[in-house]
C-alpha cells in the first residue's frame, strides 16, 4: 500500500491533530500516522474502547473533542502504525497491523512529542520503578496503579498530575518528593496564572494532596532504591537549589512502587535522522530542531510542531500545531500571503500566552547539572546496555570527546531505545561541569525509530524473487 498526499503528519497528539486539521481545512490532502490506537497523544490518551462507557467518561474532554473533530475531517488517519523511517522526497515508512507500509508526501510535520528523562540513581532499573510519564500512561490508558502504595518523586508538573491520578484511581501515596522548592513553584506565578484553567487545576490538586495528608518533601530527591521482598526500600535526601545532595539524615520509605521523572526531552528522531540542524536549549528539554518562525526546519518541506520542537506543554502544542499546518498550506500554495498573515496573527498571540505557561512548567523540569554530577560511579546510566557512569567517564578520560564516541566505546545508547532514555544524561556527563553541551553533541539519528520485527518487515519470499544488486568484484 502506498499513496502520495500533500502532507504527512507524524504524531497524533494535540500538535499533530491540530496541524492535520488546519492543513486539511485549507484543502491539502493529509495523512496522520500514530502508533497509538486513537488520537490524543500522551496528554489526552484515550482509554481503550473495550473498557466501556464508565471508563470512557474519565477521558479528558479536550481529547474527546480533538478525536471528534479529527473523525469529522477529511484527514486520512493511520493509527496503530509505528513510523520507523523518514526519507527525503518525502517518504514515511511504518509498520502497522497489516505489515510494512510506506507513503509519500510533499511535506512532513513531525509532531512526535516528548519523552521522559530520569536522572539515574542506584536501583532506578528495578522492577516497580517507573517514570512519571510512564505512570500517567498506565493510569490513563488502563486505569492501572503503579502499586498499592506509591512514592512519587522527581520534578515538574507531572509530579502533581501523577500523584492526583493515583489518589483518584484509589491508590495510596507514601509521599511526594519534589526536587523544587515551594519558592520555585511560586517564582513564575504570573505566567502560570496566565492559563487560569490550568492554574486553578494545579491549586485544586495541591488542596487534594493536603486533604489526603500526603507529605510533600520539597528540595528532596531519591538517593537509592533497593528491593526488599516484593517491595522497594527507597532512600530520600535533601538537595540544594542546584539539585546537588546535601548532607543530612536520609529518610526511608518502604513502598510497592516508585514513580520518578526529571522532566521531558523533545522527541527528535525524525529531524536527527534527516540531518536537520539542531540547537541545544536546556529550558526546552535539551537538543531541539532549529526552526524558523513558521515551524520550518532547515530542510525544505520538513516542519516540527509541539513538544518535539522543545518542551512547551499541550496548550502551546495545539496552537503551534495549527500554525504549522497553516505554514505548510501556505508553502504548498494553498493559502496566499495575505490570508496566511490574517490567519496566523491571532493564533500567534494565543501561542505566546500558552507558551508563557509552558515556559514556567519547563523551568521546573530543567535538568540540574549538579544532580547529574552527583551520579555515583557504579550507577547504571544506559539501562538497555547496563553501562555505568564510571564506564562513561572512563571513556571520556581516554579521549572520547562526544556522545557518539562514548556510544562506540561503551555501547551506551546502542540498545533498543537508541539512547532516547539516557541521551540527555550522557551528554551532560560528557560535558562535565563548566563546558558547553554543544561540544558533546547528540546521538546521531538512526532508523528504525522503534525495534522492527524482521518477520513483519520482510516476510519470507521465494529466493528467485529477491532483487540482488550486481556482484561484488572478485
Amino acid at each position: 500500500m502506498s499513496g502520495e498526499t500533500d502532507l504527512i503528519v507524524v504524531g497524533g497528539g494535540p500538535a499533530g491533530v491540530e496541524a492535520a486539521l488546519a492543513a486539511s481545512e485549507r484543502g491539502l490532502s493529509v495523512r496522520l500516522v500514530d502508533e497509538a490506537p486513537q488520537a490524543g497523544g500522551q496528554v489526552y490518551r484515550a482509554p481503550p474502547r473495550a473498557f466501556g462507557a464508565k471508563f470512557q467518561q474519565k477521558a479528558d474532554p479536550i481529547g474527546v473533542r480533538l478525536r471528534d473533530r479529527l473523525r469529522a475531517s477529511a484527514v486520512q488517519t493511520h493509527f496503530d502504525h509505528s513510523v520507523w523511517s523518514a526519507s527525503p522526497g518525502y517518504r514515511i515508512d511504518a509498520l502497522g497491523p497489516d505489515g510494512a507500509v510506506s507513503w509519500r508526501a510533499r511535506a512532513v510535520i513531525a509532531a512526535t512529542g516528548a519523552q521522559e528523562r530520569v536522572v539515574p540513581f542506584p536501583g532506578w532499573t528495578l522492577p516497580g520503578v517507573t517514570g512519571l510519564a510512564g505512570a500517567t500512561i498506565m493510569l490513563k490508558s488502563q486505569g492501572m496503579l503503579p502499586g498499592a502504595v506509591t512514592l512519587v518523586a522527581g520534578q515538574g508538573p507531572l509530579l502533581l498530575a501523577v500523584a492526583i491520578g493515583i489518589l483518584k484511581a484509589g491508590g495510596k501515596l507514601a509521599a511526594v518528593i519534589d526536587l523544587a522548592s515551594q519558592a520555585d513553584w511560586l517564582a513564575d506565578w504570573p505566567a502560570i496564572a496566565s492559563q487560569p484553567r490550568l492554574a486553578l487545576r494545579g491549586l485544586a490538586w495541591q488542596a487534594i494532596l493536603r486533604r489526603a495528608g500526603v507529605p510533600v518533601l520539597y528540595r528532596h530527591a531519591i538517593r537509592s532504591a533497593e528491593a526488599q521482598g516484593d517491595q522497594l526500600l527507597v532512600s530520600v535526601g535533601a538537595v540544594d537549589a542546584e539539585g546537588a545532595p546535601v548532607a543530612g539524615r536520609d529518610r526511608s520509605f518502604v513502598v510497592d512502587a516508585l514513580t520518578v521523572g526529571n522532566g521531558l526531552t523533545a522527541s527528535t528522531d525524525i529531524t536527527r535522522l534527516m540531518r536537520a540542524e539542531h540547537r541545544f536549549d536546556s529550558l526546552r528539554g535539551g537538543w531541539v530542531p532549529q526552526l524558523d518562525t513558521d515551524f520550518r526546519t532547515t530542510l525544505p518541506g520538513l516542519y516540527v510542531a509541539g513538544d518535539g520542537a522543545g518542551i512547551a506543554g499541550a496548550a502551546a502544542a495545539a496552537i503551534d500545531g495549527r500554525l504549522a499546518g497553516l505554514a505548510v498550506a501556505h508553502d504548498l500554495g494553498q493559502c496566499d500571503d495575505a490570508a496566511y498573515q490574517n490567519l496566523i496573527a491571532p493564533l500567534r498571540r494565543s501561542a505566546l500566552r500558552a507558551r508563557k505557561f509552558g515556559t514556567a512548567m519547563a523551568k521546573l523540569m530543567v535538568l540540574r547539572p549538579a544532580q547529574v554530577a552527583a551520579i555515583a560511579d557504579e550507577t547504571i546510566v544506559c539501562r538497555c546496555e547496563d553501562v555505568t557512569q564510571g564506564e562513561i567517564c572512563t571513556a571520556v578520560r581516554e579521549g572520547a570527546r562526544g556522545v557518539n564516541q562514548v556510544k562506540a566505546w561503551t555501547r551506551c545508547g546502542m540498545g533498543p531505545c537508541q539512547g532516547r532514555i539516557c541521551g540527555d544524561i550522557v551528554g551532560q556527563l560528557v560535558t562535565g561541569q563548566g563546558n558547553a553541551r554543544e561540544e558533546a553533541g547528540y546521538f546521531t539519528g538512526r532508523t528504525p525509530f522503534r525495534p522492527l520485527p524482521l518477520d513483519e518487515l520482510a516476510p519470507p519470499i521465494a529466493y528467485g524473487d529477491l532483487q540482488l544488486p550486481p556482484p561484488a568484484p572478485l
Partner: protein
C-alpha cells in the same frame, strides 16, 4: 598553533592510525589529524568481518596478514578490540551462484586462501543455523570478526602511549608545500608543519589529494549495516553468499550484524545519511534466507559506512609521484581486514625499510590530462 613534526597523518581511520603508530614507534614525531574523532567513520562503523571469502583475490595475502594482526591486537596494540576467530562460509542457493562460488573459491585458493568446497550436509553440520536449502558452500577456517566500534578506543590508547599528537575535530582546509615540507591549515586557526604528509582520508581522499593538485577519482560507496537485538545463539560462523552481497555474524552478546554492501543514501559531505527502505528490506530478506532463525528477532539499528573505491577497485598505497615526502593510503576493497597490515607496510616504506609485501602505486590512478579549468592553489 605551529608545530614541527616529522610526519603529519591526515585521517585517523585504521590505515592512518596504524601508519602513525608505527612511524612513532620508529622514532618519528607524528601528528594524527582528523576532521572528526578517531575511527568514527568506516573504521569504526564497518561490519568488522574478517573474511577471505569477500577479499579480492589479489589481496588475499595481505588480508591473511591483517587478520592475524587483529587477532593478536592485545600484543601489538595493547588492547583486545573484540577480534575473534570463527569459521566462514560462502553460500550458493542457485546453480548460477554455485558456478560463481566454485570460480571465486578457485581464484582465492590460487592466491593462498585455505578455502574448500563443502556439501550442504557438511556445511549444516558445522553450522546448524544455515538454511539446509543451500546448493553448495565454500568453507574457510580462517575467518572471524572484530567489534569494529572498539577500534578507535584501542588505537587511541596506543597512539597516545607512542607519543603521537592527536588533533581531532579539526578539518584540514589546505595543504601547502613549504620549505621542503608541508604546511597544513585546519579550522580554528590550526597550523601544522611537517616534513612529510600521509593522506589517509578514505572517501575524502579525492578532496585531500586535490589540495595538493593531484586528481584521482574516488567512488564513494554507502554501505548499509543492520544490527538486531540480542537473541539466542543461532549461528556460529561468518556467513556470506557467492556474489559477496551478504555478511552475517552473531556476536558474543547475542546481537546479529547484517551487512553485505547494500547501498544507502549519503555522500562524503553529509556522510551516511539513511538507508533506502527497499535495500534494507532486500538485505534482510537475503539474510533471513541464509539463517532462517533471524525471523525471530528485531532490527534495533541501521547505519551506513562510507567505503572508498578506486577506478580499478584496487588499493592506492605509496608515495605520490613527483612530491617529496607525500604519501597516500586507502581504497582497500573490504579493507578493514587488511588495514592494520597496510598501515604497517606504508610505515616500513616511510621509515626507509623494504616493505614486506609490495605497495600499490598511486601513479596509475592519477589523472594527468591538462585541464584549462584546473584551479590555481
Amino acid at each position: 598553533m605551529t608545530s614541527d613534526f616529522d610526519v603529519a597523518v591526515i585521517g585517523a581511520g585504521v590505515m592512518g592510525a596504524t601508519t602513525a603508530l608505527h612511524l612513532a614507534r620508529g622514532g618519528m614525531r607524528v601528528a594524527l589529524v582528523d576532521r572528526g574523532e578517531i575511527c568514527r567513520e568506516a573504521s569504526g562503523v564497518n561490519a568488522g568481518t574478517l573474511t577471505l571469502h569477500m577479499t579480492r583475490a589479489a589481496l588475499i595475502p595481505y588480508a591473511m596478514k591483517g587478520r592475524a594482526l587483529w587477532l593478536s591486537a592485545e600484543r601489538w596494540l595493547g588492547r583486545d578490540v573484540g577480534a575473534r576467530s570463527a569459521p566462514g562460509f560462502s553460500l550458493a542457493f542457485t546453480t548460477a551462484e554455485e558456478e560463481m562460488l566454485v570460480k571465486r573459491a578457485e581464484a582465492r585458493c590460487a592466491m593462498g586462501a585455505p578455502i574448500r568446497l563443502v556439501s550442504p550436509a557438511e556445511a549444516c553440520a558445522i553450522d546448524p543455523g544455515i538454511n539446509p536449502a543451500i546448493r553448495a558452500a565454500a568453507f574457510c577456517e580462517l575467518d572471524g570478526h572484530v567489534t569494529a566500534y572498539l577500534t578507535g578506543r584501542g588505537y587511541r590508547q596506543a597512539l597516545t602511549a607512542a607519543g603521537v599528537t592527536m588533533v581531532e575535530q579539526i578539518p584540514v582546509e589546505a595543504i601547502e608545500s613549504q620549505g621542503g615540507g608541508y604546511l597544513i591549515r585546519g579550522t580554528c586557526g590550526t597550523r601544522l608543519s611537517a616534513r612529510r604528509i600521509v593522506l589517509a582520508g578514505g572517501v575524502w581522499l579525492e578532496s585531500m589529494l586535490a589540495m595538493l593538485g593531484v586528481r584521482v577519482k574516488i567512488k564513494c560507496l554507502i554501505n548499509q549495516l543492520i544490527i538486531t537485538e540480542r537473541m539466542r545463539p543461532v549461528m556460529r560462523s561468518v556467513v556470506g553468499i557467492a556474489n559477496g552481497l551478504l555478511s552475517l555474524k552473531q556476536f558474543e552478546n547475542g546481537s546479529i550484524l547484517i551487512g553485505g554492501g547494500w547501498q544507502g543514501r549519503g555522500d562524503p559531505i553529509r556522510g551516511g545519511v539513511e538507508p533506502i527502505p527497499d535495500n534494507l528490506i532486500g538485505n534482510i530478506r537475503l539474510a533471513r534466507h541464509a539463517i532462517p532463525a533471524l525471523g525471530e528477532t528485531r532490527v534495533v539499528r541501521i547505519w551506513l559506512g562510507l567505503e572508498s573505491e578506486t577506478a580499478d577497485a584496487m588499493p592506492m598505497i605509496g608515495p605520490l609521484p613527483g612530491m617529496e615526502g607525500a604519501y597516500v593510503i586507502g581504497c582497500v576493497h573490504s579493507g578493514y581486514t587488511s588495514a592494520p597490515y597496510m598501515g604497517q607496510l606504508l610505515a616500513q616504506h616511510i621509515l626507509g625499510q623494504e616493505p614486506e609485501m609490495p605497495l600499490f602505486d598511486p601513479a596509475r590512478l592519477i589523472d594527468t590530462t591538462p585541464s584549462s579549468v584546473r584551479m590555481s592553489a
